[in-house]
């Protein structure tokens, strides 16, 4: 499975003598300079330099376990901020805390769901915004793709540990791969399907989205993404979207449209998002119809079985009560639905059924829904 992540590495395209020279120079530098990142001093200094270029975001959320906080990166002196396109932006009261503790209102300039990013702007109607610390995203986008094995630093306000002038949390890790993202958020396929850096550290925590990863010298590499599940392994994936990211998607008429992070950054208010697509759900089909979920803890009794469905083939019957799925207890219909939502088609699950006074174990292979959305 791991093999899926490896590929599409960008080899250097320079002539061989130039590469030799570069290699030699690198070796010499290794010897002559103290290794950056290996002495505490330089890393602490990098952290100090990067922190003022990031902002804490506070917006919508705070219910159903959804965080109401996030992170963003300042990309211009007049207060443009890049972050992840998330639910926290769905508010008219979006607030930004700068590194010095000042608090500002911000508005969403443009969003690009296909890239899963959004551009914000600090409100400057009351006073002029002039920021001293920001990243040059255009330059970051031109940087060659970092190779697997590159040591990185991550910066974000994960778990909302910091407010006001308290600094971002910094972590360290290694780029494990540069590969296409195949993630999902709950039952929905992740909107961005392009290339990402896959990281060996747990960077994608609540609130970390919109934070950044940098080299150990503090050079901007990529934007930390959401808390996604890898479709291939059903495990959490820690990834970051490079600033060179672009995707090509079909519009209504089937014509191909390419959008990129740089388009959004350059066009700002004039940016037009890629045409909307039908959301592809990757919900697994089992063919079990449960009794109506009327009371708070309705037991998961089967009302009906869809003919020809996996449930039908597994010989499930009305009035069977589902008590365990893969060894996990099913207290009620809600817990059954929640659990099943985490499975992908093709997975074989083990149901334990109470039928009369007998407990029966039934294997069932989940399928793609008959009317799956078009890719």
């Amino acid at each position: 499975m791991i093999l899926h992540f490896i590929g599409e590495l960008t080899p250097p395209h320079s002539p061989s003598w130039k590469r030799l020279l570069q290699a030699l120079a690198a070796v010499v530098l290794l010897q002559l300079l103290p290794l950056p990142g290996w002495s505490d001093e330089s890393l602490a200094r990098v952290v100090e330099e990067v922190n003022p270029k990031l902002v804490k975001l506070f917006g919508a959320g705070g219910f159903k376990g959804l965080p109401s906080y996030g992170t963003g990166v300042i990309i211009s002196p007049d207060g443009y901020i890049l972050t992840i396109n998330s639910h926290i932006l769905d508010t008219r009261d979006l607030r930004v805390h700068l590194y010095d503790g000042t608090r500002h209102q911000a508005r969403v300039v443009a969003r690009e769901p296909e890239l899963d990013i959004a551009l914000l702007k600090i409100d400057d109607r009351k006073r002029k915004i002039e920021l001293e610390h920001y990243f040059d995203v255009v330059q970051a986008a031109k940087r060659p793709i970092a190779e697997p094995g590159t040591h990185i630093l991550s910066f974000s306000n994960l778990f909302q540990i910091a407010t006001r002038d308290e600094p971002m949390s910094v972590g360290r890790g290694v780029i494990a791969a540069y590969s296409r993202l195949t993630g999902r958020l709950g039952v929905f396929e992740a909107s961005y399907r392009g290339n990402v850096y896959v990281l060996d550290a747990i960077t994608n925590n609540p609130g970390a989205g919109g934070g950044i990863i940098t080299t150990r010298k503090g050079e901007l590499l990529a934007l930390i993404g959401k808390e996604l599940t890898n479709e291939l392994t059903n495990t959490r994936i820690n990834y970051a979207i490079p600033f060179s990211a672009s995707v090509t998607v079909p519009d209504k008429d089937g014509k191909k449209v390419t959008v990129s992070v740089l388009d959004l950054v350059n066009q700002k208010e004039n940016y037009r998002p890629a045409p909307e697509r039908a959301k592809v759900t990757n919900v697994a089909f089992h063919g079990i119809i449960l009794v109506p979920n009327v009371v708070e803890k309705t037991p998961a009794y089967i009302e009906e079985v869809v003919p020809g469905s996996p449930a039908d083939r597994a010989k499930l019957r009305p009035d069977d009560q589902i008590v365990y799925v893969d060894g996990l207890p099913i207290q009620d219909i809600t817990s059954f639905n929640n659990l099943l939502a985490t499975y992908t088609p093709g997975t074989e699950i083990k149901l334990e059924i109470q039928r009369g006074d007998k407990l029966i174990t039934v294997p069932l292979t989940l399928e793609k829904p008959a009317k799956a959305g078009k890719k």
């Binding site: 010499v28 010897q31 290996w38 010095d100 540990i161 308290e166």
Partner: protein
């Protein structure tokens, strides 16, 4: 030119080849070796703490770290709390099991001090040197050591290596009062069982005690966010922990709120205030908090961080601003409401592994030899250590002279400069203390003549006037203070009859009289051991020097000041003592400085003493 450059490069490269042949650049190899050396150096100090219930069943495993050669070790309260007994078993990396006893607790701060017993009397323990956690920066490397998932079946600690992610972090109490203030955030892997273990910097100095991790939907495992209690915070509590106290954290008696408009920096403003020392010192609702204990205040988290650093009863400077005017005050911190954390109050999350799987072998045997180092007393974690500390302080006091036979009349004469009026008044004061035996035991009486005015106090007379306890006016109770001073010297603990009337209160800051030339801003602070006493409902605190004063005002072990509360929850009469001199073969302080509330009252020189 290019050719020569390339040649030079080539030569340099050749020189490097041996290092590369071994797989690592020399610099990296050197750094790696240094790290391994540090790990090997500190490893012997890492403790595996085994929590057992009263029947000896293992109820959890944690970690700890030795901090001196006597065997004192730090761990988390929630580790020792898993044991239902103050007697513990600990393992060291030498592969041996040691008996240990609980000494002191800071439940709110999640810290416990334990003491390991040497296997042979007199044996010394390896220990970790404490660092300065205020010097730790985000981006520094750190090493966590301990016993995660109870893996250390051979008692060799696990080492993890990572980055400091943030410093001065505040973590809200999780369901209980247990809060992590001013803590160090690390991405160094900390897991269940690491609790109580050390966090080291790359110089091998102890900078924190690992105790808590952020969790989210992924079960009780590390998600890249762990927290260590900063060692500087623990240092403030150490004096309390060492004397067997169940220490309390502090509150100011005020709540703060962050007040700001968009665009501006936040101001921290007093939102509400209860009857407290802060209020008596003049703090009021609406005042802007500028700095607290020397730290600038810009967020409520920072305010809470500072509060968490100090035990209840400590006095710290506070600067506030009102209508543009900046004022500095010294406030005594109050305790946090108690009773919320009880024995069943589980900190959340408690990173303790279930006691499954392989366990370090602990032979069942006779009762723990640690039992003789444990004495139960209500309100104390381990009264044995408090008694020992009392004995030590009283022995120091006895070295100044034996006063125990001098139960007769005492007469003290002083030259006095009264400071409570516009211009200081030079005058004299004379105190006479006597005890007459009445039908209900001894009846003490103190008479004084201060600035030619007579005063009398009979502290045990049932109908004695409230004002008499506070005489002279503005002193807060100088007569009472002088009487209690004699009481301590003559009778020691027996001079304070009743239940829970005499104990060692750990270590507190003491502020000697400030130099009038330099003013309040040059506030000097020394740490002093404190004895707490109660006499006929009057509380007192007695401060003893931990070190010789470089300026020569006092020596280690001398009583350098005391406070007497004539009235509960009011300002005490503070007596600062210095410049000990020989008076008839006994050492007494020749300089007495009296303060009360916000004012200096009198500066005195003891001229003659007669003790019978």
């Amino acid at each position: 030119m290019l050719h020569r450059f390339l040649q030079a490069l080539f030569v340099t490269t050749l020189a490097l080849l041996p290092a590369y042949a071994q797989g690592l650049p020399a610099k990296v190899a050197e750094i790696e070796k240094k790290r391994i050396d540090v790990i090997n150096k500190v490893k012997p100090s890492v403790v595996a703490v085994m929590a057992r219930d009263l029947r000896g069943n293992l109820t959890g495993n944690g970690s700890g770290v030795l901090i001196d050669e006597e065997g004192y070790a730090l761990t988390n309260w929630h580790v020792t709390n898993a044991a239902r007994s103050p007697l513990l078993k600990c393992g060291l990396p030498d592969g041996l099991i040691y008996d240990a006893v609980l000494v002191g607790l800071d439940r709110v701060g999640d810290v416990a001090l334990i003491k390991l017993l040497p296997r042979k009397p007199g044996d010394k323990f390896p220990y970790a040197k404490m660092g300065d956690s205020d010097k730790v920066k985000a981006g520094d490397w750190s090493l966590a050591m301990g016993n995660p998932f109870s893996l250390a079946t051979d008692l060799t600690p696990t080492v993890t290596f990572g980055l400091v992610s943030g410093v001065h972090r505040y973590q809200y109490p999780a369901g209980t009062l247990l809060e992590y203030t001013d803590c160090i955030q690390v991405d160094t892997s900390i897991n269940p069982g690491n609790s109580g273990g050390p966090l080291f910097n790359l110089d091998g100095e102890l900078i924190g005690i690992n105790g808590r991790i952020s969790l989210e939907r992924r079960g009780r495992v590390n998600v890249g966010v762990g927290y260590a209690i900063s060692i500087n915070q623990i240092k403030n509590f150490m004096g309390h922990l060492r004397v067997g106290l169940d220490t309390d954290h502090a509150s100011l008696g005020a709540s703060m709120e962050s007040e700001s408009e968009d665009g501006g920096l936040s101001r921290i403003v007093v939102k509400s205030l209860i009857e407290s020392d802060a209020r008596r010192r003049g703090l009021d609702v609406g005042d802007e908090l500028v700095s607290f204990a020397g730290r600038p205040m810009t967020t409520v988290n920072q305010y809470k961080n500072v509060l968490g650093l100090y035990p209840k009863g400590w006095r710290v400077p506070l600067v506030y601003r009102r209508e543009g005017e900046r004022k500095e005050i010294l406030v005594r911190l109050m305790g946090v409401q108690r009773g919320v954390i009880n024995e069943n109050g589980r900190p959340s999350p408690p990173p303790m592994p279930p006691s499954k799987g392989p366990r370090p072998p602990v032979p069942a045997g006779p009762p723990s030899p640690a039992a003789k180092f444990y004495k139960e007393k209500e309100g104390f974690v381990n009264y044995y250590f408090n008694e020992e500390a009392q004995k030590r302080v009283l022995a120091d006091l006895a070295r100044l002279g034996d006063f125990s036979k001098l139960t007769g009349d005492w007469k003290l004469d002083m030259n006095v400069r009264l400071l409570d009026r516009g211009t200081p008044v030079a005058t004299r004061a004379s105190f006479t203390i006597s005890e007459t035996s009445g039908t209900e035991g001894k009846l003490p009486k103190i008479t004084a003549e201060i600035n030619e005015l007579p005063y009398t106090l009979e502290p045990l007379k049932t109908d004695e006037k409230e004002e008499a306890f506070k005489d002279p006016v503005n002193s807060g109770g100088w007569l009472l203070a002088t009487y209690l001073y004699r009481q301590l010297l003559v009778y020691g603990p027996k001079g304070f009859p009743g239940k829970d009337t005499f104990w060692h209160g750990g270590v507190e800051p003491y502020y000697p009289p400030s130099d009038p030339q330099k003013g309040e801003t040059s506030r000097e602070r020394v740490l002093a051991e404190v004895l707490l006493t109660r006499f006929a409902d009057k509380d007192s605190r007695w401060y003893f020097a931990q070190e010789d004063d470089p300026a020569g005002r006092w020596k280690k072990g001398q009583l350098i000041g005391f406070e007497v509360y004539a009235e509960k929850d009011r300002d005490p009469c503070e007596v600062c003592l210095s410049h000990y001199k020989d008076f008839g073969g006994r050492q007494l302080p020749s300089r007495w400085f009296i303060r009360h509330a916000d004012n200096n009252y009198a500066d005195c020189v003891l001229t003659a003493v007669s003790c019978k």
